[in-house]
């Protein structure tokens, strides 16, 4: 599996005075099994970008290739593309509509043309994957808690067995534990099912912990594309576009400026802890070594 974006461009109301450019010359390749974070200020083009990946929006310029084949080629089945590239929108619980959880999760597989039985089997598998046991199958989705609703909605996309799973801010509005649970599930899906994951997030702290590649959008352009550690080293430029590095990165920089020789490329709490201890112990040992 791979998705290639080749100089993709998207303009709203093209050819009118209201014309606005939402994507400008975006080129990138998404490879099999990657865990990608996508960050950017509201209105930076993140949502527009992900909607291009499963054909919900059509580029006004450039090309998108799925497994080397242009999705804009005549006769290309968008429906099939959408079953390979699953997209979970923000607040996905608002799209639940069936009378029980299981039927709702069956919606996607049924649209793919699977039989009732097959759809059910897929739905059950997906629900267990997001950690929802049998006891929820027959419950009304509207009786669930916020976090459970969200998981059911994610299962609704997983049941289609996509190769790529795109999630637009899957933790918005959840409490810290709920947030960790959802992100933990997603990381497990990536690890155990080999899913390619694209996570749109506003939390630098979260992407620092989970993803192994980070895309940064600004004004419709792809500004950075690299490992989180590398991207966050440009924290000054990130600030200019309304973003930031994780808090701990700033602490490391502040320490260094105050004369404390610590690594500044730390991006998670655990890393910062190690780095600071390392320096402290280093001093200890060095001081002890000199009689």
């Amino acid at each position: 599996m791979s998705i290639t974006l080749d100089h993709v461009e998207y303009k709203y109301s093209e050819g009118t005075p209201m014309e606005t450019e939402a994507l400008h010359d975006v080129s990138l390749e998404i490879r099999d099994g990657e865990f990608i974070g996508l960050i950017g200020h509201t209105g930076s083009g993140k949502s527009t970008l992900i909607q291009h990946l499963n054909g919900l929006m059509r580029a006004t310029g450039g090309d998108i290739l799925y497994n080397g084949e242009s999705i804009y080629r005549e006769g290309y089945s968008m429906k099939e593309l959408r079953s390979h590239v699953g997209l979970v929108f923000q607040y996905p619980e608002y799209q639940l509509f069936e009378s029980d959880v299981l039927s709702d999760v069956c919606f996607g597989p049924k649209n793919q043309g699977l039989s009732e039985e097959q759809a059910k089997a897929r739905a059950i598998e997906a629900l267990r994957l997001v950690g929802m046991g049998e006891e929820y199958d027959k419950r009304s989705p509207f009786d669930l808690s916020g976090g459970q609703k969200r998981r059911a909605a994610i299962a609704g996309v997983l049941a289609m067995k996509p190769e790529v799973l795109i999630l637009d801010e899957p933790t918005a509005g959840l409490d810290p534990k709920g947030r960790d649970e959802i992100l933990g599930q997603i990381a497990r899906l990536h690890r155990e099912q080999g899913l390619t994951v694209i996570l749109v997030s506003h939390s630098m702290e979260d992407v620092a912990v989970y993803v192994d590649r980070l895309l940064v959008m600004d004004h419709g352009r792809l500004r950075f594309d690299g490992a989180p550690r590398e991207v966050f080293s440009h924290y000054r430029e990130l600030e200019e576009i309304g973003l930031a590095a994780p808090r701990v990165t700033y602490i490391a920089h502040a320490l260094k400026e105050a004369g404390f020789p610590v690594r500044t490329d730390v991006i998670t709490v655990a890393e910062a802890e190690e780095a600071i201890l390392c320096t402290l112990n280093g001093t200890n040992e060095r001081e002890k070594a000199t009689p």
Binding site: H41, G146, A172, D175, R247, Y250, F260, A270, L277, E287
Partner: protein, 290 residues
């Protein structure tokens, strides 16, 4: 007595059971007693479904207690004649920015509260001007709310409450649906109203970074007050907070981790500068001891 005082307040939701005949009582708030003083900045933390929203709605008499009593500026919320006075005293801002703006033009929305209160026309204009100024939205007064960002919409909602000249603002997860920029905008506005105008603020949230400047924090769980104290007192108890499905700010977590591994830091550090300062001191101490 404080501006908001609750004594043994309980609230039960009644819903139909599985068989759709029996009624099930679910206790959203249980025996809560709180006392909030004029001018304070109080935060209420709690996971989704912990009862914090239900409690907030009592402060504006949108819900009335099943048991116990709540007084808003000395008025019992069950006193029907005091209803409007209570709502003027404790204004409310809600989570969804779209679902609380009534009018199609910013300034008209800000004027909605005073209109309902029967404030004379000229005074409405003065109040609208002042409120928009206070939240920094004067430039957008003629705009349609639909064109504003989430953070701006919430500031309009805050102005709408300010125009009622309340003593107290209750904000029920005002930042839950906003991006980080919008969250900062709203929190900055609220802190300013508290500091400069002396408005009592009750902020309900589950973003830990937003409450480190609060005077006091209540943590709710299962409808009860599980913890109460200053941010320092609350955030020292990292394990307890995690049990309650909450978290601590990254700075605090880092300090906590270092302390657990033997670095002699203060028990609770909320502030980045303080952490840096203490780590430097530890290092200097190490050098000195050696």
């Amino acid at each position: 007595m404080g501006i908001i005082k609750a004594e043994d307040l309980s609230y039960n939701y009644i819903k139909l059971g599985e068989d759709e005949k029996t009624e099930e009582v679910s206790e959203a708030v249980r025996n809560v007693s709180i006392d909030i003083h004029a001018g304070e900045f109080v935060a209420i933390l709690g996971h989704n479904g912990s009862g914090k929203s239900t409690l907030a709605k009592h402060m504006n008499a949108l819900l009335l207690p099943t048991e116990g009593t709540i007084w808003i500026d000395g008025r019992d919320s069950r006193d029907e004649d005091a209803l409007l006075a209570i709502r003027q005293t404790a204004g409310m801002v809600f989570q969804n920015p779209d679902n609380q703006i009534v009018a199609g033009v910013v300034e008209e929305d800000v004027g909605f509260g005073p209109e309902n209160m029967g404030v004379p026309t000229e005074e409405i204009w003065e109040r609208v001007d002042r409120s928009l100024e206070a939240v920094g939205m004067t430039a957008y007064r003629k705009s349609s709310p639909n064109r504003l960002s989430g953070g701006q919409k919430q500031r309009v909602a805050i102005a709408g409450v300010m125009a009622m000249e309340p003593k107290c603002i209750v904000l029920d997860e005002p930042t839950a649906m906003l991006d980080p920029g919008g969250r900062r905008e709203v929190i900055r506005t609220v802190r300013e109203l508290n500091r400069k105008k002396g408005i009592t603020v009750i902020l309900i949230t589950h973003y830990m970074e937003e409450v480190i400047h609060a005077d006091r924090i209540y943590v709710m769980d299962e409808g009860q007050v599980a913890m109460e104290g200053t941010p320092e007192e609350i955030f020292t108890q990292v394990e307890r907070l995690k049990e309650l499905r909450l978290d601590v700010p990254q700075v605090t977590e880092l300090a906590y981790g270092l302390r657990k591994r033997g670095v002699p830091l203060s028990p609770c550090i909320l502030d980045e500068e303080q952490l840096v300062k203490e780590i430097l001191e530890v290092r200097a101490g190490n050098v000195h001891n050696a």
